[in-house]
Symmetry: C2
Subunit: 374 residues, 2 copies
């Protein structure tokens, strides 16, 4: 049976390889995995268990809903941190579901404190500090004030912050954020002797060991996004996207193509219509001057991408190659997520999270223990 | 319990109203509903049954997979056309699932013919003609040649084509496409006396009765997208999108905000972090200079939209309004899908199909029979 929609192939062995490379890159720190937004669109229900098997013990998701899903596919021993915190009224659900809220404001901390005091329990939580991104988190002053409160009695396992400019190794904010987070360590360890610290996302790992603290939290790099833009990637590509050809057309007269009749071709010209359009995120993935690949031949998008169909100008193909073609590759080794994002000034993350839900997901298996023993 | 992700409210009574308005706009033709791409992201499982109840008897989806889903929520009497046709090997599944393939190439027609001849059955199918979009469909010559084949024996219920420039009422292609489709009617009716014709999408309806043929096929207009851009909309808005505030911040010193530290604010300044980011399609929905609404106050996005969080500069709010705010409206009556798409040069369709799957869908009920009797 021929596919009727795009095929997104996700190479679990590549994710495994990236996980191992990132672990080697942080000799003394631990590595947690960010699997929010369904592992950036690649399928957290497959990637989460794989990483747990690789030894990952801490996972980060964005919302309560993602956390509840994660609890179904992750081992009970895995810690699941919910970056969006515990919205009012969800505290009980966090505890019964074994989820750890990341508390990011004084209000959120106070609410959690009231809850645990009322229940006389000490469930784990994390605190997020704003060290310079001005997005989420307690300010240093707010944190200090809380720690000075005699009744402050929540069980904080992790104190974390988030780098704003980690991809730009020369940005002065990187060291400033590091210094600010480090400045809390003495106070925090007095309050919670076991508390751990975390600052770095994928790119932060490559700023150097000082930025690693106790835990690093890669997401993007696990999924093949180069955490060191402008330098060769320390991780390998993970996905391939191919769209099946629905119709082949050899033009017999000059014709306009697609919506708005904006594109025009004259014979000899060959056009391929493939299954996949902007409802599948193709606009965002390909950007304004999109190209696909047929073997080693580059074929440009022609005309406007429509909701479910995209046209490619395959005039450069030989008649034989044209007769043979069954799919056009959109993401492959010639045009990976990093190249697409560099060309479109989107972020690799955005390319991944734009991948449509109609694409059929196919998973290439991870390597077994023996195969990778070398 | 406070929401931890955006709330997308879909007003079923507005879709019902649009359905009725479109029916009034096409006095003699029938109206089919396009519910592909999950009703442009709004939930075909809710919208399909609603329209069936309103009397809709023919539905269009994009893929076999969408067709199989539609069969679960639509009455057995409803016709479900699959625009992507029947990929090789799926023919049996089409027949057993009561789905009608739209055959869009000579190859597809021949394959369907072989199948029905081998099985000695006469399941319904549709044929798509390319009248000028040069995307999918048989050319006029190909269709004429097939009809001239003595063994041509498939059961064609519908012959359809698709307008490329219907939103531009002055475009000469509109009449050319009409003339080309009409030129097939005599030949086709000789072959299949009951066969019906269809050309117009939402915008085509407003080109005039000549373009209506037997069936019109609105999608966009049902979902509130203005089919007559530049003129007042003949349909009403359908959706509202609101994102919950996660954190409020009053700046005490000058700070850079978000990834890349590209934005900067100095006190007095008030910032709101809301749940929702580019993983929810917000980039595509809002475009480069995004704005949200708090009551009647317009608040601009500040800093880069991140994956799960967006910051808004709420400095214009009074302290009282700032203390009170619980959500920011992204799509409402002040900023509807048509305005967003006009400002971002995206299409309204693209805005709808970019709406993230993490948003909680809430449906406002349709009007009951009595209420709308007037």
């Amino acid at each position: 049976m021929k596919p009727s929609s795009g095929i997104l192939t996700i190479d679990l062995s590549a994710i495994q390889e990236n996980w191992r490379r990132l672990n080697r890159a942080v000799s003394s720190a631990n590595v947690a995995a960010v699997i929010k937004a369904d592992s950036y669109g690649l399928g957290a229900h497959r990637i989460g268990p794989l990483l747990a098997e690789e030894g990952c013990r801490s996972f980060f998701v964005a919302t309560l809903y993602e956390g509840l899903a994660a609890r179904k596919y992750l081992p009970a021993s895995a810690r699941v941190f919910v970056l969006g915190g515990s919205p009012a009224g969800t505290e009980d659900l966090f505890v019964t579901s074994n989820l750890i809220p990341v508390l990011f404001s004084v209000d959120a901390v106070r609410r959690w404190q009231s809850f645990v005091v009322a229940r006389q329990i000490t469930p784990a939580c994390a605190i997020k500090i704003d060290t310079g991104m001005t997005r989420m988190g307690l300010s240093l002053a707010e944190f200090a004030e809380l720690c000075g409160t005699p009744t402050f009695a929540i069980n904080v396992q992790l104190i974390m912050s988030h780098l704003a400019c980690a991809e730009d190794t020369e940005h002065p904010l990187n060291r400033l954020q590091l210094t600010r987070l480090a400045s809390l360590q003495a106070t925090a360890k007095k309050q919670w002797p076991q508390v751990e610290f975390s600052l770095s996302n994928s790119s932060g790992i490559f700023l150097g060991p000082e930025w690693h603290f106790d835990w690093v939290r890669p997401g993007a790099a696990l999924y093949g996004i180069n955490p060191t833009p402008g330098k060769s990637s320390p991780v390998v590509p993970v996905i391939r996207l191919a769209l099946p050809v629905m119709q082949k057309r050899e033009l017999t007269e000059t014709a306009t193509l697609g919506y708005g009749a904006e594109a025009k071709l004259s014979p000899p010209a060959r056009v391929l219509a493939v299954a996949g359009g902007y409802a599948d995120g193709l606009h965002r993935i390909l950007g304004p001057r999109g190209e696909g690949w047929i073997g080693r031949e580059r074929v440009p998008v022609i005309g406007r991408i429509s909701m479910d169909i995209t046209l490619f100008d395959a005039s450069a193909l030989t008649l034989e190659a044209f007769a043979r073609v069954e799919e056009i590759e959109i993401i492959n080794t010639e045009q990976d997520v990093n190249m697409l994002s560099a060309r479109n000034t989107a972020l690799g993350y955005e390319v991944l999270t734009s991948l449509g839900s109609r694409f059929q997901r196919r998973y290439l298996p991870p390597k077994s223990g023996e195969e990778v023993a070398s």
